[in-house]
């Protein structure tokens, strides 16, 4: 029999976020260096924990780790960081990297049973889709307790004797939650938008134009309507499907663009062009709003699929017709 005794490796951390932690989160929100925002997997200590201190499990996405530890001031606790390849708890649980196997392995690697005398670990509730609690206890001996959804409730949860209220168990999706998610979407659209501008510019050069300043801000407005305005106003916009909500906001924007350019008063601004805008702009917004389903916390796969089966063809046809109308309009004027 070989008994090897490995060294216990514990990394100390604090509940204070430094300026560079905060700056890092801000950058990640804007999509800069988002995928390298990681911490080392392993066992961390906060405060001065002993063998009876609670063990909290999280992902090795730095933003997940930071948002947990900053809520733990005045507490003595262990943080067990799983290797989720730098992805947050919720997404990693869906993919299975925040999962039963990784958890059991990580418990063994850090030799958790030598660090604490109790047999419970606290997992954020959003990790539940990846973890099978009864299997974890079967293979590791540790009992899984599901903690609150939000890190800021962890302290209260521990104080209440490891009990989460129904309130703590429910996922909210507040206006602030939605707002902080919009920059990444917006940055994501830039490359695509640049491509479109490139094509329009070429058409201008070839003399098919004139795509001008109006087209530019009309399009940008439609992107903002779908990427920012729709997510922020989400529950107040009538209807259920995201694409539909985006389409409505985009329609208002298109009407605004047309009226602003003197739809009825200026004869040069022809009906064809106005119709073209009405077809293109709401569809652009609808497309971007539909993509926000991925950031939301309550859309189901079956639901998004159902919505897309109708929305995607409708968007493609509508944008195509709209562009044809605008082009035809330019030809007539030439």
């Amino acid at each position: 029999m070989q008994i090897s005794s490995r060294e216990l490796k514990i990394i100390q951390t604090s509940t204070q976020l430094t300026f560079s932690d905060i700056f890092g989160s801000w950058k990640a929100r804007w999509g800069i260096n988002r995928m390298n925002f990681k911490v080392e997997p392993g066992l961390y200590s906060v405060g001065n924990p002993g063998s009876s201190s609670p063990v909290l499990v999280t992902a090795n996405y730095k933003m997940s780790f930071d948002s947990l530890r900053k809520e733990l001031n005045e507490l003595d606790a262990w943080i067990l960081v799983l290797d989720t390849k730098g992805i947050n708890v919720w997404c990693a649980a869906g993919k299975g990297t925040f999962g039963t196997k990784e958890l059991i392995n990580r418990i063994a690697i850090v030799q958790l049973e030598k660090v604490v005398s109790h047999k419970t670990i606290i997992i954020p509730q959003l990790g539940a889709p990846g973890i099978s609690a009864h299997e974890v206890s079967k293979f590791s001996g540790f009992k899984v307790l599901y903690g609150p959804v939000k890190a800021k409730d962890v302290k209260e949860f521990i104080k209440a004797g490891m009990k989460a209220s129904a309130e703590m168990r429910t996922v909210r999706f507040s206006i602030y939650d939605r707002l902080v998610l919009t920059p990444v979407d917006l940055v994501g659209t830039f490359r695509f938008s640049l491509m479109i501008f490139g094509i329009l510019f070429l058409l201008n050069l070839l003399g098919f134009g004139p795509f001008g300043f109006v087209d530019f801000y009309a399009y940008m407005g439609a992107v903002l309507a779908g990427c920012v305005l729709t997510p922020v106003l989400l529950p107040w916009i009538p209807g259920r499907a995201f694409a539909w909500k985006g389409w409505l906001v985009g329609l208002i924007w298109a009407a605004f663009v047309n009226v602003f350019n003197g739809w009825t008063a200026v004869p040069l601004y022809s009906v064809l062009r106005a119709l073209g805008y009405l077809l293109v702009l709401p569809s652009v917004s609808a497309y971007y709003a539909m993509n926000f389903t991925g950031s939301s916390t309550f859309t189901s796969f079956s639901g998004v699929l159902k919505e897309m089966r109708i929305a995607v063809p409708a968007i493609v046809i509508s944008i195509f017709l709209g562009i044809v109308l605008i082009l035809v309009n330019s030809f007539i004027k030439l």
Partner: protein, 99 residues
């Protein structure tokens, strides 16, 4: 304000005869889909279900069933384009919108 998504789409199923009323599903569901009635779990509002699969994974008696998946349009488009199962994979490039 409450968020509501499409009605009658979730694939969630509960086999009542296998349920022992242990309450795990209530504990893990982030959208309050279950309620305990006479020592059995019941689905109170299926339309709130987002098919995350937490309840299925954590039911020790296999009483629950759902087609687990990501409710993300971008993932589904990528799935269509590449012919694979949609997954939350946009994270490895910068243009992804989910997570």
């Amino acid at each position: 304000m409450k968020h509501q998504y499409l009605k009658n789409v979730s694939t969630l199923k509960l086999k009542s005869d296998q349920c022992t009323g242990c309450g795990r599903c209530m504990e893990v569901c982030p959208h309050n889909v279950f309620l305990m009635e006479e020592k059995k779990s019941v689905i109170v509002d299926k339309d709130r279900c987002m098919e995350c699969g937490a309840c299925v994974k954590n039911c020790p008696f296999d009483a629950l069933e759902v087609k687990q998946g990501v409710g993300c349009a971008y993932a589904i488009i990528m799935g269509w384009l590449t012919g694979t199962e949609p997954s939350c994979d946009c994270s490895d490039n910068s243009s992804g919108s989910c997570c």
